[in-house]
């Protein structure tokens, strides 16, 4: 697998993503510059965390119009795999790759902490290496992570199994106290209808090794490699 990590001005988790792919998985990783149009024949595009363009106007709003994003959107429309993490999730929503939007945390506080997530579906290219209902410990670090969508959209993504991860208690219950940002239905990550784009606020690339405090992010990346190496991928 060859993964391309997009670097916007203000990206700050690009190197974490690079190391997750190169060191954590032993796969090829390259950086993609925001002003470029060349995706360098990657199999996976990672939109990393950070504060692209200073979060001016709205988180992800300006990044969406960068040259590289025109190519990323076209790549996704062709079925290419895109993983948006944190700011990358915000950018994917602004670009229309995923439904809904991410708003200021209900607490109005930036939250940096490990959280418990429940795997809501394993029938995706990003989650096949988990067990259904598995509880993960993965860190979050964001101020604008409150997932919001209109009632029809919520009903559709729930009904069609596009909610990938939910914030839960360590024992796996969906409660208000377990919700770090006020996301509707405790939603932490979703896929698009075609299943080739995943957006999530938690950082799986920061949960790849015991010394990072958790290895629960590794199966997500392994799922992607597994899908792409099965011959059905791009």
């Amino acid at each position: 697998m060859k993964a391309g990590i997009v670097r916007f001005p203000g990206s700050n988790c690009d190197e974490d993503a690079y190391r997750a792919v190169a060191d954590g998985l032993g796969q090829e990783a390259v950086y993609l510059w925001h002003k470029d149009h060349d995706l360098q024949n990657v199999d996976l595009v990672i939109l990393p965390g950070g504060f692209s363009y200073g979060d001016y106007l709205r988180a992800g709003a300006i990044a969406r119009f960068s040259p590289i994003m025109q190519e990323v959107v076209a790549f996704a429309k062709r079925g290419g795999m895109v993983l948006g993490i944190c700011n990358g999730f915000q950018i994917a929503c602004e670009a229309g790759l995923l439904p809904g939007a991410l708003l200021r945390n209900a607490s109005l506080r930036f939250v940096s902490a490990p959280v418990a997530l429940r795997v809501e579906t394993i029938a995706t290219r990003f989650t096949s290496q988990y067990h259904l209902g598995q509880i993960l410990q993965i860190p979050i670090a964001h101020g604008d992570g409150r997932y919001t969508a209109d009632a029809d959209t919520l009903a559709r993504i729930e009904g069609e199994g596009h909610v990938a991860f939910r914030y839960v208690t360590p024992s796996g219950d969906v409660t208000e106290a377990a919700n770090p940002n006020g996301s509707l239905r405790n939603i932490a990550g979703i896929t698009n209808a075609a299943g080739n784009v995943l957006g999530m606020m938690p950082h799986p690339e920061r949960a790849m090794d015991a010394w990072l405090g958790s290895t629960d992010g590794t199966p997500l990346f392994r799922s992607i490699v597994d899908y792409l190496s099965s011959g059905v991928g791009a």
């Binding site: 602004e94 809904g100 708003l103 209900a106 607490s107 109005l108 409150r146 919001t148 006020g182």
Partner: protein, 85 residues
């Protein structure tokens, strides 16, 4: 072509939790402004636009709001004023 100054208000859509607005409302209540109800905190933009007419400037601003300035999922916008600058 004439240069127009447009005032644009963008606010969180009704029904969407606005924690900033709620914090402001709570603060106003604690100051004794008991008459305060719902408060929404949004953005105010002043945009200069060269256009053939005020209507054309307004139409351009509307397109800008729909494409970039407001998020169609969560925000409403209003073009509050169009003046020659």
């Amino acid at each position: 072509m004439t240069r127009y100054r447009l005032a644009i208000h963008i606010v969180p859509r009704r029904g969407i939790l606005d924690p900033q607005g709620k914090a402001v409302s709570d603060a106003l209540h604690s100051l004794g402004f008991s008459e305060v109800g719902d408060v929404r905190v949004g953005r105010y933009l002043v945009v200069e636009i060269n256009a053939a007419s005020a209507d054309a400037a307004r139409a351009a601003a509307k397109a800008m709001c729909e494409k970039l300035l407001a998020n169609p999922v969560t925000e409403d916008f209003e073009i509050a004023a169009v003046e020659q600058s």
